[in-house]
Every structure is written in C-alpha cells, then in structure tokens.
C-alpha cells in the first residue's frame, strides 16, 4: 500500500517538474483551456442562477390564477365570477387582480401597471400615489417624492407622486412595474367597476391545488386555471432550454479545443522525445510513461478548471455575466439589473467538468500512448 502510494507520489512529482520545464507551452495550453471552461462555465452558472431567481420569484405568487377566456383569448373577469368562487373549499384567499401593460413613449418601454391586492398591505396606496420598479425608476430618473406622469393609449393623463421604489430583490418581475391605486387605474384605462384582469387563488394545502382547480373549474367553466407549478415548470424548461441551446452552440468551440489538445499532445519537441527515450532506456515501462503524461494532463486540467471556474463565477456574480446576459435572460427595454445570489452547485460543477475536462482527457489519450509506446532507440535517434 505504502509502496504504491510512494510510487504515485514520485510519478506526480515527476509530472510537475516535467510541466515546469516547459512553462511557455503549458501555460499557453492552460490559458486556452481556462478560457473554454470560463465560457462554458459562465453560461451554466448564469443559467442556473437565473432559474433559481425565477423559482424564488414564483414561490411568493398565488398557487392558482384564474383567467376568463372568450374564443380562446384572455378576457376580463367580472365581480360576479369572483363572487361565484367565494366559499371554495381548500382556498384560503380569493382575490381579483387588476393589471395591464402600457407602452410609454417617453421612456420607450413597456410598463406593467398594477393595483396592489387588498391583502398586500405593505404596498397599500392612496389616490394619486404610485410605487415603481427599479427599471422604471432608472428609465424615468425617479426618486420617492417625485412626480410620475403616464399617458394612456386613448390620451388619458395620470399624474402620480412616487411613494417608493421597489427593492431590486425581485427585480426580474418587478423591474417594469408601476403600482397605482384602484380608482386611478380604472379611470386611466377606462375600466368598468366590475372588471378584473384575473383572479388569484391562494390554496391552503399545496397538494390540493389540482383538486381546487378542478372544483373552481366547475364553478367557472369559462375560465382557465394556471397553477404556480405549471408556471415554474415553464420557467425551468425555458431557461434550461436557452442554456442548453447556448451550450450546444459552444460544442464547436469544445471540439476545436479538443483538436488543439490532441495536436499539442501529439507534437512533441525533440527534447521531450529524448527525455522519454532516456526514461524507457533506463527501465521505465510504457505504463509508467502513460501514467506521468496523464498526470500532467490531470494537473493541467485541474489548474485550468480552477482558473476557469473562478473567472466564470466572478463574471456571473460580480459582473452580471455581461457577455451572455442578452442570450440567456431574454431581452426587453427595461430589463432589470439585479445582483444574482452567488452559489456553487455540485451538479453544475460535475456537468461543467464532464463537458470540458472529459473531451480534453479523451483527446490526449492516443497521443500520450503513442509517445509512451515508442521505441527508445527510435525516439532518441
């Protein structure tokens, strides 16, 4: 046992020294390798972080949302619909919601205008007050106390005073949000008093969501019911798909890198060939040479992987993944600027290692063997 360990230690020691003897060649390889890990790692870390953000954001939403449908299109719900759902067993709270979109030509962006629900006391508003999202505040240079003017498509004018700006924590959804009071909203969009955008249903027991949706469906056959789980599945699938697609596009880069690794490992200098020749002449077996060369590959992989991951992590969590942001997050004029919670996940790291280290190691196997199995007499001559 001890002898095996000692042997491995000496082989590793030899590999380190061998790498140090050719610093330029190996550092160049490490740099390219680390760049590959950095690019692939950035895509993966960013994709995972944005999925977590979306999941965290959906976690606070209602378990069920009911939307009226007419001819397959979204329609406004009526107060009578809300009344029909009252007393629905399993539902803790049933609240109609008012929200809509507004194209703001001044800010050249789309806003989501919304009325805080009755239970949302933290954002309760008086007439003439508004709370805006971080993106709106940025676009219109708003601060609490300043005035916000909105113009409806029919030319109606809404004058509000900014009461507060929403925190950046939930920026993915709240960036383009403008919260206003119900009366202001109805007057601005010329909405009748009994019209609501949709109905939010909070379910006491999350396992009963399907049953509650079925029961509610019987009461309101003209409505469709979307569960939070459906939405989180869609978000998960969408972001995973974007991440996967970007990675698939990077497959070409990975292949190019594997070819480079193959080429580097094949092209031995005269000095290296002599070195291997001497080793074999003094009694090293092919297996020992392979072990040393693979250890060199392992050391290069370890170093490049570490550097690449540190780079990707910094890029994603401290620089908001500036290079890949538009591809993965999607695009909008008022896209939020939000700090992602820095995390490192074992599955992501294992996947990253499999996508980057595996092709490298696979690419150097044959050249390493060819080097190791060469005849000492032939390589030294």
């Amino acid at each position: 046992m001890r002898a095996t360990f000692e042997r491995r230690r000496h082989l590793l020691d030899f590999a380190v020294r061998s790498l140090a003897r050719r610093p330029t060649k190996n550092l160049g390889l490490v740099a390219v390798y680390a760049l590959v890990v950095f690019v692939v790692g950035s895509v993966m870390l960013y994709g995972a972080a944005i999925r977590r953000e979306a999941a965290a954001m959906l976690a606070s939403g209602p378990e069920l949302t009911a939307q009226a449908m007419t001819m397959g299109r979204h329609e406004m719900s009526r107060s009578a619909d809300v009344a029909a759902l009252k007393g629905l067993r399993g539902a803790r709270r049933i609240e109609p919601r008012l929200w809509g979109y507004l194209w703001d030509s001044a800010g050249a962006a789309n806003y989501t205008v919304m009325v805080p629900t009755a239970s949302d006391t933290a954002h309760a508003l008086a007439k003439g007050e508004a709370i805006v999202g971080e993106g709106v505040a940025r676009a219109r240079k708003l601060a609490p106390g300043k005035m916000l003017f909105l113009v409806s498509p029919s030319g109606k004018f809404l004058k509000t005073r900014v009461k507060a700006i929403l925190s950046a924590e939930s920026a993915l959804v709240s960036s383009d949000l403008v919260l206003v009071e119900e009366g202001d909203f109805r007057a601005f969009f010329e909405l009748p008093a009994d019209a609501w955008t949709d109905i939010a249903i909070t379910v006491t027991n999350p396992r009963e969501v399907t049953t509650v949706a079925e029961k509610a469906g019987l009461k309101l056959p003209g409505h469709r019911f979307v569960s939070r789980a459906d939405m989180s599945r869609s978000a998960e699938a969408l972001f995973s798909w974007r991440e996967g697609l970007t990675l698939a596009l990077l497959a070409g880069a990975l292949l190019a890198f594997a070819i480079l690794a193959f080429d580097k490992a094949s092209g031995l200098s005269a000095e290296e060939k002599r070195e291997i020749g001497i080793l074999k002449a003094i009694g090293w077996e092919s297996r020992d040479v392979i072990a040393v060369k693979l250890a060199e590959g392992g050391l290069i992989s370890g170093l490049a992987f570490l550097l690449g991951v540190i780079g990707a992590w910094t890029h994603v969590f401290f620089f908001s993944a500036g290079l890949f942001e538009p591809v993965l997050k999607g695009w909008a004029t008022l896209y939020p600027r939000f700090p992602l919670a820095p995390t490192l996940d074992a599955l992501e790291m294992a996947t990253l290692a499999m996508l980057t280290v595996l092709p490298y190691m696979a690419a150097i196997l044959v050249p390493v063997w060819r080097t190791a199995s060469a005849d000492p007499d032939a390589v030294m001559r």
Binding site: A229, D230, S240, R287, A350, T351, M354, A362, L365, V366
Partner: protein, 331 residues
C-alpha cells in the same frame, strides 16, 4: 427532448465511451484471432503495444461511466420539477419507459467495467500476458453493454417531455403497492436490518480470510452480490425511513437530495465499490491457474481488502444514520 446541460454532458460522455469501446472492440477481435506470444512477428509486437492503449482507454471509460452513473442519478433528481407529480429522481425516471432500464444498465456497466479493470491490472502484473485472451473476450462483452446503455440513455432523454404526468416515489415505494418497490417497502424493517447485518458480517468475515483460498474468494464474491441486494432492500425498508424520520417514506433516491445532506452518496459509493471488488476477486478465481501464485494472491488480497473496507464504511454510515435519527421503530 429536454435541453438540459447535464443531459448534454451525459450524452457526450456516452458518445465518447461508445466510440472508445468500439475501437477497443475491433482491436479485441483482431487480438483474439492473431495473438501468439511465441511469435516475434511485427503484427504480434504491434498487438502488444496496442494493449497498453486499450487498458488505458478502458480505465478512462470506467471513470467516465462511474461519474456518469452519479451524474445521471443526481440529474434525475434535479429534473423532478419539470414533471407533474415528480418529487425526486423516481418521478423523472418514471417519466419515460426507458428511465429505470437506463439506470439498471448504468449499474451493470459500472460493475462489468470494474471487473474488467481488475482483470486488466492483474494481467499487467504478469510477465507473459497470461490473462490476455479472457480479458479481450470480456471486452467483447463490455463493449455491447456500453453501447446498449448509451442507446437506452439516448432513448430516455429523447423521450422526456416537460409536463409529462408521472408518479412520485410514494407511488412506487408504497407499502401497499403490488410491485418490487412496494414489496421491499413492506418488508419488516427489523428483519431487513437483521439480514443485512448478518450478510455484512459474513461478507466482512469472508473478505478477511478470502486471501487464503480460491473457494473462499469465490464465496466472498457471491456473498458480496447478495449483500448488495440485501443492502438495497434494507435501505428501502428501514434505513431511508430513519433518514427521513417518517415510517412510510421509503424512497431510496430522496436520500441523495440536498435536504438530507446527500447522505445517500455516503451509503451507495462504498456499497458499489465493495460489491465491484467482491465480484472481481471472485471472477479472478477461474483464471488463477494461469498466473503466478504470488500475483494472484496479491490481487485477491487487494480486492478483498477494498471490499471489506467498503462494507465496513457502509455499515458504519448505516448505523450512524439509524442512531442519529429521531425516528423510533418498534417491532
């Protein structure tokens, strides 16, 4: 298909493994036809040179397959939110008919590659390539297994669709369910733990003395395989409920989850290594006549020692999990 990064990584790994083994398989056919250690012909020298490469690449494939088995289980668990009704890996694996067959295929490949590598290592220590023919005949068994596993995995991933309605682990490992999972869950936990303790004691005892005789080594292999089955049964019937502290939650996959500190890996890794080592030491027995006695004994000793350490580790982890649990099961 779901375009998930770990899925892409797993498919890439399978592709690399299959390509490598396809090449190795072709070489195996050539070697089995032309191998002649007495000959000094160029072809024989070339065959001898290439065997070193094949040993290296199959070792590489084993590492890849072991990593891919872990990643596959881990990823199945993470994909659960994509499927309606899935709570853990069971739901994801059930989302397609190919899910569980892929998992079983990966486990079989892991053990087959483990045994092949053990034979290869012993062969590398002999001076006269004593095991070369059985080794390459074995490679012709291993390669199709890896292809089949890769094909099953691809079929599984292609078949996966988000929003598929699947069943959670409670459905598969419910005590009243008429399937293998249900039967295992319904096992009396004390009986299951008793059988496991007896099996482990026997396996460890045999492992300690296995180096002394071929029959003991063969018996140790058989007992190791039996302990693998007993351990899985005990995990479903008793150890998992102790981890979850819920008498009716029997899932052998949820213990891999973060909520439970990934303790499942601490159980499964030593168990798999011990089983692989036990099997390998037993499968070497028929070939021991061909090799030098000292090499055979050293190889058997190394493998049985690995198996004993693995079984001991598994036992310690299982005992700690049961002792630490707030659940008390009474007979």
């Amino acid at each position: 298909m779901i375009f998930h990064p770990p899925i892409l990584a797993l498919i890439a790994a399978s592709l690399i493994s299959s390509l490598v083994l396809a090449g190795a398989g072709l070489f195996a056919v050539r070697l089995l036809r032309h191998w002649d250690p007495a000959s000094g012909a160029e072809r024989q020298i070339e065959l001898e040179r290439i065997t070193t490469l094949v040993s290296t690449v199959v070792a590489f494939v084993l590492v890849v397959e072991a990593a891919s088995l872990v990643l596959f289980a881990f990823n199945a668990d993470r994909m659960a939110p994509l499927f309606v009704g899935a709570m853990c890996a069971v739901g994801s694996l059930n989302a397609s008919v190919w899910g569980f067959p892929t998992l079983w295929a990966k486990i079989v490949v892991f053990f087959a590659a483990f045994v092949w590598l053990a034979v290869d290592r012993v062969d590398g220590r002999t001076r006269d390539w004593a095991l070369i023919r059985p080794k390459y005949a074995g490679l012709l068994v291993l390669a199709p297994l890896v292809f089949a596993e890769g094909a099953l995995e691809l079929a599984y991933f292609l078949d996966l669709k988000a929003d598929t309605i699947t069943s959670c682990c409670g459905k598969l490992f419910g005590e009243d369910k008429p399937n293998l999972g249900g039967d295992l869950a319904a096992l009396d936990p004390f009986q299951a733990m008793g059988l496991l303790a007896g099996g482990l004691a026997l396996a460890i005892g045999l492992g300690v003395v296995a180096a002394r005789g071929r029959l003991l080594a063969a018996l140790h292999g058989v007992v190791s395989l039996a302990v693998f089955g007993l351990a899985l049964a005990a995990i479903v019937s008793a150890i998992a409920p102790y981890v979850y502290e819920q008498p009716h939650h029997h899932c052998p996959f949820c213990i891999l989850k973060r909520e439970y500190g990934h303790v499942g890996f601490a159980l499964y890794v030593p168990l798999f290594v011990a089983t692989g080592a036990g099997l390998a030491s037993a499968l070497l027995v028929p070939f021991e006549g061909r090799i030098d006695g000292a090499v055979a004994t050293a190889a058997r000793r190394g493998l049985t020692r690995t198996a004993v350490v693995g079984h001991l580790l598994f036992a310690v982890v299982a005992v700690v999990l049961v002792m630490r649990s707030g659940l008390t099961l009474t007979p």
